[in-house]
Every structure is written in C-alpha cells, then in structure tokens.
C-alpha cells in the first residue's frame, strides 16, 4: 500500500484547529464575537468620541448618552457601521459564489465587472428614472441587480472555455467589461441635466465610499442580504460538485445550467446590495474568501457563514480606519481596500503564474 511517509505528509489547509465540527463552531463564535466587538468600537470612534461607558446606557440603567451623542450614534454612526458590515458581507459572499462558479480563486465582484455592471444599472435608475422610487431604492436597486447580472453573464460567456475559465481570459474579459462600464457611468454623468443628487451618488459610488443610509433603506438592504444569504446556502453544496468540472458534475446528476443561473442571480443580488451601500469597493470579495479558505479548506458549505461574518468584520475595520486616519477628512474605503487588496491580488496572481504563462 501507499508508503507511510506519504501518509504523514499533510498539506491540507483543512487540517487546522478549526477543521473538526467543534472547532468550526468555535471559529463562527469567535467571528461573531469579533463582529459585535468591532461594531462597539467603531461606534465609539469618530470626530465626536462616544465613551464605551455611555454606550452601555442603551442596555443598562445608570448610564446614559447625551442628546448629541444619541443623535450621532443613531442617525450617523450606526447606519454607517451597518452599511459597512453589510457591504463587506455581501461582497465577500458574492466573491465566494463567483469563485465557485468560475472555478477560479481570482474571481471578485470588482475584478470581473459585476460591481461595475451594478453601478451602471443603478446609474440608469438614478439619471433616467429618478422619479421611480420605493423606500429610496426602487428602480435603482432593480436596475443595479439587472446590471450586475448582465455584466457577469457577458464576462462568463467571454471567458469560459469548455466550462473552465483560464485566469488570463477571466482577467481580460473582466477588465474590458468593467472599464467600458465605468466609462459608461461617466457618460451618464455628463448627460445629467439635473446637477446634484445623482452626480453626488455616482461620484461616491465610483470612489467606493460607504454611504450614510436611512433606517428604511437599511431595512431594505438587510432584507436583500438575508434573501441572498438564504439562497446561497443550497448553492454551496452544488459549487463543491461543480469544482469537479462541468461534465463530471452533470454526470453526477447536478443541474449545471440551473446552478450557474442561480449563482449568477444570487451573486448579482448580493453585489447590488454592496454597490448600493458602498459603490465600487475592490478586492474585498477576493481577500476574505481566500483567508477563510486558508483556515477552513475549500468546502463552500462551511465557507459561507464564516465568509459572511469575516467580510462584515473586514470592511467595518477598513471603513473605521478610512474615516479616522485623516480625520476630520475621510478616505473612501475603496481607496484603502485597493491599497491592501492590490498587492494581495498580485500575490495570488503570482501563485497562479504557472497557469497564466503555461
């Protein structure tokens, strides 16, 4: 039988402490605790600091927030925090889904142009149908999802060769499509006759700034997030099967085409949520699933909850840093993630070099 030396060698990334079910639950617990802690800390940080002790007044009698603090916390800081958490979570899960779909760890909603499609779709909504609106979103949200679906379908058709997407083809197709989409958005900007709101929204989207949503808007986004996460769950097991290749997966009874369409729709829905809340934020959907994969291994079923939590933490931390390092000015968080994510992306590309230059 196989040599014992061979058996000892264990390069599986899934061999760590978090591999077994108890360890996995522990990891989810840690991530949830970190997210809660992150929200608390982020709520304290800002131009007007709110001490942690005062925050306890929300839950406990004996401490209380001043009127100003309450106003800042509930109408500015918390909506911003929740927007960052939700944008990070949706981007990361969309990245995870797209990586499974493309069978390629370099797929990211920004890199493959799905974020750009959502921006363009939503811009159409803002500039051409501004009166159609529901809870502040309406046509914009719908067109955002539609834009993301169209762009990713286009990239998929351009980049896939027999159900595989070679790195080069994916990157080139994604680059071309997202460049066209960004400049289309600029074109819309020029066409805009009603200077003001639309332009401001578009500019912040293109830079990747976390928005300052109202509570009803947040509720709509949260509902879309939950629908997206819920719909992702049955897809994760299918992405594991799809990793064996299209033909083999079909032989095993997987409905390949249905699975693909479902992944595109759900991933686009999640991308649209992220874009509505934070615009074009690059590389989050790349970094977070990759880190989780290093800890948990490639099983998409286990990755989904961990990625959703870690994505929220990641973007919350990034946004809190972005809005406080040069206070009172603010750095768009998209700038920060590009600074962190760009080198990381190049590192991953280098890892895939053999495939790229083969």
């Amino acid at each position: 039988m196989a040599g014992s030396v061979e058996d000892i060698r264990s390069d599986a990334p899934s061999q760590g402490v978090f591999y077994h079910p108890a360890g996995y639950r522990l990891l989810l617990g840690i991530l949830a605790a970190l997210l809660f802690l992150g929200i608390l800390v982020a709520a304290c940080v800002g131009i007007v600091p709110i001490p942690l002790r005062a925050m306890a007044g929300i839950f406990l009698p004996g401490h209380s927030l001043t009127g100003d603090q309450q106003l800042i916390l509930f109408s500015i800081r918390l909506p911003r925090i929740l927007a960052a958490v939700m944008a990070g979570s949706t981007l990361s899960v969309a990245g995870l889904l797209f990586q499974g779909l493309f069978r390629n760890p370099l797929a990211d909603p920004y890199v493959i142009g799905s974020s750009g499609g959502a921006v363009l779709g939503a811009s159409f909504g803002i500039f051409l149908f501004p009166q159609l609106s529901m809870a502040g979103f309406g046509a914009t949200a719908f067109l955002g999802v539609a834009g993301a679906i169209c762009s990713i379908t286009l990239v998929y058709m351009l980049a896939s060769v027999n159900g595989r997407t070679p790195v080069v083809a994916l990157l080139l197709a994604g680059f071309a499509v997202s460049t066209m989409l960004s400049y289309c958005s600029y074109f819309l900007e020029i066409m805009d006759h009603d200077f003001g709101t639309g332009l401001r929204v578009l500019t912040s989207w293109l830079r990747g700034t976390i928005a300052q949503p109202t509570w009803p808007q947040l509720a709509v986004m949260a509902a879309m997030l939950l629908v997206g996460l819920g719909a992702s769950f049955p897809l994760t097991r299918r992405l594991n099967t799809l990793a064996l290749g299209e033909e083999y997966a079909a032989h095993l009874g997987l409905h390949v085409q249905q699975t693909r369409i479902a992944v595109i729709i759900v991933g686009s829905l999640l991308t649209a949520v992220a874009v509505a809340l934070g615009g074009l934020i690059s590389f989050v959907g790349l970094i977070v699933p990759h880190m989780m994969r290093m800890i948990l291994g490639p099983d998409h079923v286990r990755l989904l909850p961990a990625t959703a939590l870690a994505g929220g933490i990641f973007l919350l931390v990034a946004d809190t840093v972005a809005r406080s390092i040069i206070a009172p000015s603010e750095l768009p968080v998209g700038v920060l993630t590009a600074f962190i994510g760009g080198p990381f992306f190049l590192y991953l590309l280098r890892q895939a070099k053999r495939e790229v230059f083969a």
Partner: protein, 260 residues
C-alpha cells in the same frame, strides 16, 4: 445472465467522423469487460454513451430495459458510475470531500449528507484502500493514489455498473497490478465493469470478455483469448503482428505461437 445495460442499434458520430453505425452489445450484471482499440476508435465515446452524458444519433441505450433517455442524470448516476480519465479539481479539496461528491445523486434538494451517505463514502474508501489518506489534498496525490480515489468516488454512487476510462494510464507496473487487483475485487463484490484498457498484457487474467473497437468495422466481442490474437490486433491497431512483446504476451498460454 440478465442484461444490465444494452446498446440497441446505436449510431453516433462527430461532425465529419462516424464512430458507430450500428452497435449492438449487452452488459450483463456479472460482466467484466475490457474495452480495447486504437486511439480515436471511440472508447471514451462509448463510455460516455453508456453513462448517458452523450446522446446517440440513433438507436438507444437501455438500463434494465428502460431507455436511458427517459431517465434523469440523477437516476442514471445511482446505477452507473463513470470514472473519467482526467479530473481537474479547481480547489484543494481533500480526498474525503472529493469522494463525498459521489453522493450527489442521492442528496435532497436542500439536504446535506445523512448517516447512510457517510457510510457509503466510508465503505467506498475502505474498498479502494484510500482511507489512510482521506485528509490529504486530492490534487497532490500520486497517479496511482488519484486513480483509486476517483474509483472511490464512483463507488460512493453505489453503482451496479462501473465505467472506467483508462484506469491504468500513466501508472507504473506495480500500481497497474494494484489497480487490476482492485478491479477484480470490485467484480467479486458484484459490480459489473466496463474498462477501456491500453495495457493489453493486463487483460487476460482480469477480464472475462473483450470488446475490440475496430476503426474500419463494427465492434468485435469475444473472450480475451479470442480477441487478443496477434493477427487480429495487428490489423486493428495497424501494426505488424508479432512486432512487439505486448502483442505476444496475451498468447503466452499457447507457447507454440510465441517467437523469441
């Protein structure tokens, strides 16, 4: 001998190239068949037709009397497991996670693996002797290990018929014998086998019959000693008979024909 799978007047061709015109063949429940033929003669095509991943141009493939066309992939995959030649897995899945994919045809729409599913995976890994490296990454296995793990995935489907596409390809002689032993063991467990083989020397002791794909004529069927004759192989493979040890080896039980 009841028929498990039947090819009924099967015709299939690719654009500009006909592979089968009128193929008739039966795989019984206790069959152990080697599929032999030159490159491009349609071995893989035949396996795909048998698994229902390719549709014939005319004629039909019947599984236990039912046309395979009327069955879903899910249904077929519970009876027929196809082990492909090359599998590229896009992420570093472990051997166990890989083998678990064999349970796909049994999982419910929204469900995960049940106890019965886990037992089937465990059993498949025990049968193929792959349990020792269940936690290793599939993509990092050696050729022989990888072949056994692929077969384990097929066995996790709990099939009645196992289709193997060149299971001994790229294996050293020791691993080839190991694999042939595994095929014998699976056959003893009551699984019918159809395997495409290039290593003609391994056939006689393992398989009970041979299907010989002749590029110019319809497929020939017979026992190994009927099919693996140097003259016949020389014609089918388009090389001089007795030109190499491989063409002589199958007749080694009849030493008078062996030339030194």
């Amino acid at each position: 001998m009841s028929a498990l799978l039947r090819f009924n007047h099967l015709g299939f061709g690719y654009p500009h190239r006909t592979i089968f015109t009128d193929l008739d063949a039966t795989i019984s429940k206790a069959a152990c068949i080697a599929l032999v033929g030159p490159n491009g003669s349609g071995k893989t095509t035949l396996l795909r037709l048998a698994a229902g991943t390719l549709k014939p141009d005319h004629g039909e493939v019947c599984l236990r009397g039912e046309s395979i066309d009327t069955l879903s992939h899910r249904n077929i995959a519970r009876s027929i497991a196809l082990v492909p030649q090359n599998v590229e897995v896009s992420f570093p899945f472990t051997v166990q996670q890989f083998v678990e994919q064999g349970r796909t045809p049994y999982l419910k729409m929204f469900g995960g693996m049940s106890g019965a599913d886990r037992d089937a995976v465990e059993h498949a890994m025990v049968l193929t002797d792959t349990i020792a490296f269940r936690n290793r990454v599939f993509n990092q296995l050696s050729g022989g290990e990888r072949q056994r793990v692929k077969i384990a995935l097929g066995l996790a489907q709990q099939p009645s018929l196992l289709l193997l596409d060149e299971p001994t390809q790229h294996l050293d002689i020791g691993r080839q014998l190991e694999l042939v032993d595994l095929i014998k063991r699976l056959h003893r467990h009551g699984i019918a086998i159809l395997a495409s083989m290039h290593e003609l020397t391994l056939i006689e002791d393992t398989f009970s019959s041979v299907w010989l794909l002749d590029p110019d004529e319809e497929m020939l069927q017979g026992t190994p000693s009927e099919m693996l004759r140097p003259e016949l192989l020389g014609r089918v493979f388009d090389c001089p008979p007795h030109s190499g040890p491989v063409l002589l080896k199958p007749r080694s039980k009849h030493p008078e024909r062996v030339r030194v």
